[in-house]
């Protein structure tokens, strides 16, 4: 068998321009983890069900195990490593997970953090049903989800307190 043809992929990852030369079949998750060395994104099933590999692609949560790296060429990607502020301050979602014991083994956590980050942007004030819906596509085997849902609410609260997202209808 002969060597595979390699393709150059240019990505903006956590605000930094990155390139990788990958075979056409390389999964985006493998590219992020093994070509770019950002191992915070985890792979739990490789068939798009568990959500551990969720990254933000142009701001939208996607399963990086279901995308080929070449198909993400030119895209802006945020991984768990890019959630904290430049000075290292935790994002409200990260802070909430620490405060609420929202993680145990931590393997699924990056996928929840990215998913909730996008979810709260779309809906900054979820009620309990919406909070559960927001994390409804990600699997966790450790927590029974109780403290993950609590983390969604706490993250919304922290976001509001930081003035990052004013309450809808609140006085300007």
């Amino acid at each position: 068998m002969t060597g595979e043809e390699l393709h150059e992929v240019a990505l903006t990852v956590n605000g930094t321009a990155r390139t990788a030369r990958v075979p056409a079949r390389r999964l985006l998750s493998d590219c992020i983890r093994h070509d770019l060395g950002l191992t915070g994104t985890h792979v739990g099933c490789e068939h798009g069900v568990c959500g551990a590999c969720t990254v933000l692609l142009d701001g939208a949560p996607v399963r990086s195990c279901l995308l080929l790296a070449v198909s993400a060429d030119g895209c802006d990607i945020t991984t768990v490593e890019g959630l904290a502020a430049g000075d290292g301050t935790l994002s409200p979602v990260q802070q909430a997970f620490a405060e609420c014991h929202g993680l145990q083994c931590g393997f699924c956590t990056p996928g929840f953090l990215t998913t909730i980050t996008a979810g709260l942007k779309a809906n900054p004030e979820p009620d309990d049903e919406q909070a559960r819906e927001m994390v409804g596509g990600n699997l966790c085997r450790c927590t029974g989800y109780q403290n993950i849902v609590a983390s969604v609410h706490r993250a919304a609260e922290l976001t509001r307190a930081a003035g990052l997202a004013p309450r809808p209808g609140a006085p300007a």
């Binding site: 983890r33 068939h47 568990c50 991984t79 083994c105 393997f107 989800y145």
Partner: protein, 791 residues
């Protein structure tokens, strides 16, 4: 400084993990070759030929190995880790199948290549010919034994085991009333989000192996790998990186991959890594739970159990590397908080052509609890008594502790409960769920066309199983404290909990303490993480080690300050005279003083050199009976396990049309002795309950008659999302200290999962008025039960 014991301290491990800076197995070894395995597509077959020639042509392939390539010691069957006199026909797999495969997924060949993609390309091209043999699937087929899994194991029976106290048959025969029940639990599995994985580096110059593995026992893997590769223990280091969940499956060792990967790394002179994928985890790791039980119980008109006899059949899969632990735990823990006058239990452990069976969180207890609690509910129904009343009448009373059940437990020691207050637990549970008010609620719901049911289940759980664990505490000259224990961590918050204990003992801030687990370079003697044992075993060990370090620190400081050690305290990292915070020195300074040095490599060292002055010049710098440094090493080895307990209750609604089961309330009362960190204990309960609900309503391993696992993916195996677990898990604690360890603690890791199937079966039965004897139960199952009952 206030005590951290009992405080809801935030976890110290989280900062790394939420920043994406965890280091799980596949995050390591960027330079390593990748291993992939050719696995059997048949449940039972003879291997008639293996042709690797086409596979070897794949670019990037470094090597392909089959059984024929394995040197003598590595070519032997893997060890039977826990032998037992009743395990008369123990069989274990070869690292790579020799002449026969006994389950789909059994490893036949290993490919090592430049990356995983190429390794899998080559694995696809390995041409293995098989002659298919009849597959034995399911307990009935194994018991019938028309076909055999292993030709030299008659009746497919690995073991037959009997335990008895009293003459159960005679007592049952003499009892005023009798019932018989058949009860069934299906297969599920631990299913951590991270599968197995192993990375090996061989250092040719040093002749040493360094191995990282996603395991629940690094010391166990170290000893096993050293033995199989013919290496001295001192030439093998095993390091447990961050582990993405275990729940039992990662206590098994050595997995075939754990011996093959380091062997290949040594042979090839290159680091080699294996990362299991999801399908492999379903078909090539381990499952648990499948058992059939037949119960005969004799009782009196008050519901008091006189005699109990349980005959059960345990599906151990194709091999038994972990011995009989699961069925032994079922046999013994089945009794729960109750005290029948006589008890007999007999089981057969049977081979099937399916994935091997080893402990999954709860490890035999969920089945035992299901059997006992279903039996008690049946007695209550027979007598028309409230289910809580029958339980109360059978409880061991607090005044009867310690209570000896007259059996041998999984640790080979007497099954003797150390403490517990079951009547108090039940009172709390009834209060929490509103047991006495439920009848009215059910009636009102029925009037509105809704079916509600309530159930409860009680369990006693042997935790903190021996034989021992150790701890090491070292105070550095910076004042930072380094703690090590040998067992491993899979997300339970051990770093936080153990740091809390050391902080209290040593009087240092939590932030100054670093805890390392599962690294044989730091602590070489250990057993592993299973049986809810870390808080009990390593918690006690690091506490005792910290006490030794504290004693030493006080002695050194007392000498320097020219006061009595009895007059000193340590607060916030400062050793000082009681009531006089100014008369003291930091623990770091004490560490400097404890270690006379020749070389001044930094300021702290300069203060401790030979010419720094001080000391009695007529005596040696280190006294004959002393050692340099402030450190403590201690081991904890309890005489036997400590027994936690708990009770769950649930209220469910069953849909009259779709037969869907909705959990409306789920309540837990829990007694794990003294709570070190209630936040972490509650997190353990939440996760356990989710797995309990999963095993009751969703998860089953769907094997077909050919031994093909039909649902070996997260798409088809119904692991719960948030939508499947109770909206709220209501928890109340009772704290009955254990007298068997210095902390008064009991294990908490598995508790949440144990009564899940029992409590939900009871609640569904109450809603439907149909006997529920087999779990899990799907809406389709319930629908069929309704049809069968003419409901």
């Amino acid at each position: 400084m206030s005590s951290l014991f009992g405080a809801r301290v935030q976890r110290v491990e989280d900062d790394r993990l939420i920043r994406g800076r965890g280091a799980y197995l596949d995050d390591l070894g960027a330079d390593a070759l990748a291993a992939a395995f050719v696995r059997s597509p048949y449940a039972h077959a003879r291997i008639t030929g293996i042709d690797v020639s086409a596979a070897l042509e794949v670019e990037g392939v470094a090597a392909i190995y089959t059984h024929a390539d394995l040197p003598d010691r590595l070519g032997q069957p893997l060890p039977l880790l826990i032998p037992h006199p009743d395990l008369t026909h123990g069989r274990t797999p070869y690292p790579l199948a020799k002449e026969e495969v006994n389950h789909v997924g059994e490893a036949v060949a290993m490919v090592v290549a430049a990356d995983r993609y190429l390794a899998e390309d080559a694995a696809d091209l390995v041409d293995v010919s098989y002659a298919e043999l009849p597959a034995v699937v399911g307990i009935e087929a194994a018991r019938e034994a028309a076909d055999l899994v292993h030709p030299d194991v008659p009746g497919n029976r690995a073991a037959n085991s009997v335990q008895e106290h009293g003459d159960a048959a005679a007592v049952i025969a003499a009892a005023p009333r009798r019932l018989e029940l058949d009860l069934h639990i299906e297969r599920s599995a631990s299913t951590p989000l991270e599968g197995r994985g192993v990375l090996a580096r061989w250092d040719e110059h040093a002749g040493q192996l360094r191995l990282w593995t996603s395991t629940q026992t690094s010391t166990g893997v170290r000893a096993a790998v050293a033995a199989r590769l013919g290496l001295a223990l001192t030439d093998v280091d095993v390091i447990t990186p961050d582990v993405g969940g275990g729940f039992g499956v990662k206590i098994v060792h050595p997995w075939p991959e754990e011996v093959l990967v380091p062997w290949a790394a040594r042979l090839l002179g290159r680091p080699v890594k294996f990362t299991e994928d999801r399908r492999e985890h379903f078909i090539a790791s381990a499952h648990e739970r499948a058992q059939l039980h037949h119960v005969t119980v004799g009782f009196d008109d008050d519901g008091r159990i006189r005699g109990l006899s349980v005959r059960f059949w345990h599906d151990n899969g194709a091999y038994v590397p972990y011995g009989l632990i699961v069925p032994i735990v079922t046999s013994t823990q089945l009794l729960g908080p109750y005290k029948p006058d006589a008890y007999r239990v007999e089981f057969d452990s049977l081979y099937t052509n399916t994935v091997l069976v080893t402990p999954y969180r709860g490890a035999g207890r969920p089945h035992g609890c299901f059997v006992m609690e279903r039996t008690i509910d049946a007695i209550a129904a027979e007598l028309g008594l409230d289910r809580t009343v029958v339980r109360e009448r059978n409880f061991i009373q607090p005044g009867e502790m310690p209570y000896d059940q007259g059996l041998m437990f999984q640790d080979g020691r007497p099954l003797s409960y150390d403490s517990g207050d079951y009547p108090a637990l039940l009172a709390k549970l009834k209060q929490l769920i509103g047991w006495d008010e439920f009848a009215a609620r059910k009636q009102a719901a029925a009037a509105a066309g809704r079916r509600l049911g309530i159930g409860l289940a009680c369990y006693v759980e042997g935790t903190g199983v021996g034989p021992y664990e150790g701890g090491h505490v070292l105070v550095e000259t910076s004042g930072k404290v380094k703690v090590a224990t040998g067992l491993t961590t899979q997300g339970q918050g051990h770093q936080t909990v153990l740091a809390q204990l050391v902080a209290d003992e040593l009087g240092v801030p939590l932030g100054d303490i670093e805890v390392v687990t599962g690294d044989t370079r730091r602590f070489g003697y250990a057993v592993g993480t299973f049986a809810s044992r870390t808080a009990v075993m390593s918690g006690s060990a690091v506490t005792l080690a910290a006490r030794k370090a504290r004693e030493k620190a006080l002695r050194v400081a007392a000498n320097a300050l020219e006061v009595s050690a009895d007059d000193l305290v340590i607060e916030d990292g400062i050793v000082h005279v009681k009531g006089d915070p100014d008369a003291g020195m930091s623990l770091g300074t004490v560490a400097v003083l404890s270690n006379p040095l020749r070389y001044a490599f930094d300021e702290a060292a300069a203060a401790a050199t030979q010419f720094a002055g001080g000391g009695d010049l007529t005596r040696p710098p280190v006294a004959e009976d002393d050692e340099p440094g402030i450190e403590g090493r201690a081991y904890f080895s309890p005489v036997r396990s400590t027994f936690a307990s708990g009770m769950h209750a649930a209220i469910v609604a069953t849909d009259p049309d779709t037969a869907e089961v909705t959990i409306l309330r789920y309540c837990v009362v829990h007694d794990c002795g003294r709570l070190i960190n209630p936040r972490i204990v509650e997190g353990q309960i939440h996760g356990g309950v989710a797995q309990g609900v999963a095993g009751a309503l969703y998860e089953r391993m769907a094997y077909d008659e050919y031994g093909q696992l039909q649902n070996a993916s997260f798409m088809d195996f119904l692991m719960p999302y948030v939508s499947e677990v109770p909206r709220q898990i209501e928890i109340d604690h009772l704290e009955t200290p254990s007298p068997l360890n210095p902390l008064g603690v009991k294990g908490a890791g598995e508790a949440g999962v144990i009564p899940g199937a029992a409590v939900l079966a009871a609640a569904i039965e109450d809603a439907e008025g149909i006997a529920i004897t087999s779990m899990p139960i799907s809406p389709s199952d319930l629908f069929e039960l309704r049809r069968g009952a003419g409901a």
